[in-house]
């Protein structure tokens, strides 16, 4: 009934970090901007441009916000959004006319990761959804092993914005993106699942884990 003690910064720092291979992570909706298409001469017409203006442009502010959180700084975010806009324009015919917002953000998200892999590969860190250390601790101790916190012990946050920002930036990528998509872009689970290309159940557990990690990180600081 409480946050496992194992969810402490030191533990997930030590947890095995998995750098996910680019192709593996970016399969799915990013197909549309694969290298084979970029190499071929692109002949696009006024209609494509009109569709692009209608589909991608309205979500530009959100796209930038997401890119900023995924890359961690403003100039990288600009590069990513520009890159993503170009990819979106080239792939505009693959837009299924269903959810322009999710479609656009999917491209931004995938562009952000491929951009990071290319330019700052060290910055991209994914972990297993449940790290080995946490798994072990859970199995050894079980729920009885974890201390039940009394309501009085569960303090509300008085963390300032800077701490929250830093803690969120420190989260492993898949937890950070889930929380950013949920809280900053305010998307529902279905859209987050579509954008990050995982089942809804995984979105749920990432959000839950991510928030626990945030709480633990912020708790460590105070």
């Amino acid at each position: 009934m409480t946050i496992p003690l194992s969810v402490r910064r030191s533990h997930f720092r030590r947890a095995e970090l998995v750098e996910v291979v680019l192709e593996q992570q970016l399969e799915g909706p990013d197909r549309l901007s694969g290298p084979q298409q970029a190499a071929a001469p692109i002949v696009q017409n006024q209609d494509d441009r009109a569709v692009f203006d209608e589909v991608f442009l309205p979500h530009m502010a959100e796209a930038y916000r997401l890119a900023h959180w995924l890359t961690g700084n403003a100039s990288d975010a600009e590069d990513v959004v520009q890159d993503a806009a170009l990819r979106a324009f080239r792939g505009i015919r693959s837009f299924g006319a269903v959810n322009a917002r999710a479609w656009s953000l999917t491209i931004v998200r995938n562009t952000a990761y491929s951009w990071l892999m290319k330019n700052r590969p060290k910055a991209v860190v994914f972990t297993d959804d449940l790290s080995a250390a946490e798994q072990r601790q859970l199995e050894q101790e079980g729920p009885q092993g974890t201390r039940i916190e009394t309501p009085e012990e569960i303090a509300l946050f008085k963390a300032d914005a800077e701490d929250v920002q830093r803690a969120l930036a420190e989260l492993p990528a898949q937890f950070r993106e889930a929380i950013v998509l949920r809280e900053i872009n305010q998307l529902n689970y279905r859209d987050i699942a579509e954008i990050t290309n995982v089942p809804i159940g995984t979105v749920m557990s990432r959000l839950s884990r991510g928030r626990q990690l945030l709480i633990a990180l912020l708790g460590d600081r105070t």
Binding site: Q44, D48, R65, A74, V81, L86, G142, V164, S208, R211
Partner: protein, 269 residues
Amino acid sequence: MTSSLKDDDELLMNAYCDGELDPASAIEFERRLAADQALNARYNRLLSLRTAVRALPRYELPSGLQDRIKSALDANGPGQAQQPGEARLPGQVVRLHQRSWSFRALAAAAVLGAVISGAATLTLERYQQREDVAREIVADHIRGLLAPQPFDVASSDRHTVKPWFTSRLPESPQVPDLAAQGFMLVGGRVDVIGQDPVATIVYKHALHTISLTTLPSGRSVPDQVISGYNVRSWSDAEFTYVAVSDLPSPDLATFERAFSAASAAPEIK
């Protein structure tokens, strides 16, 4: 495994916090929340985390980025594909122009005719659409009254209703709390008008329910009475609002004034 029980709780709490539980599970969870002090404390902590994350300063789109992107697209988009083709055949183009004078006159006449009749049908269609829109909105209101509750998200807290809309719709209206003016915020729902999902905010005034549906601005709906319900509409820069209620029309006018005044004021966070 026993630990999965604990995990489930955590997931349930998060899903509830995100408004993603189905109504039955949500009610059950609320019951547990009320009974279990420890769970309640953890839930409050989760809420305070959410507040902290949402209060983070927003990264704003740098001015000029959108223009840079547009001009980048202009540079490698349609322009390149067309201009070389035109440049290669100037003679042909000119000859074609001379030869086809009568065709052009004919084409112009045809286009003119099409435009006139098109405009006529458009006006007719638009008129019918306006009627249909009002009727659809009233139908949604009635449907709301017949359902166990007239909303999908129940909350008198505008900080719950507004994000709920935001996560479901590309554009969502301000959700002012008008309790001080006698109109209680009770919740919100998504209605489908034509093919488009739109936000409807639900207020109560004494025992009367008011559905306030928000359409993209520019779609005027005339004030009228449909099936005994008063329909009143007004617009601001962002939306066209259509209020439906069994309230008498002077009261509905009061509601309009209260809502306009509150939604025009900058939102206090």
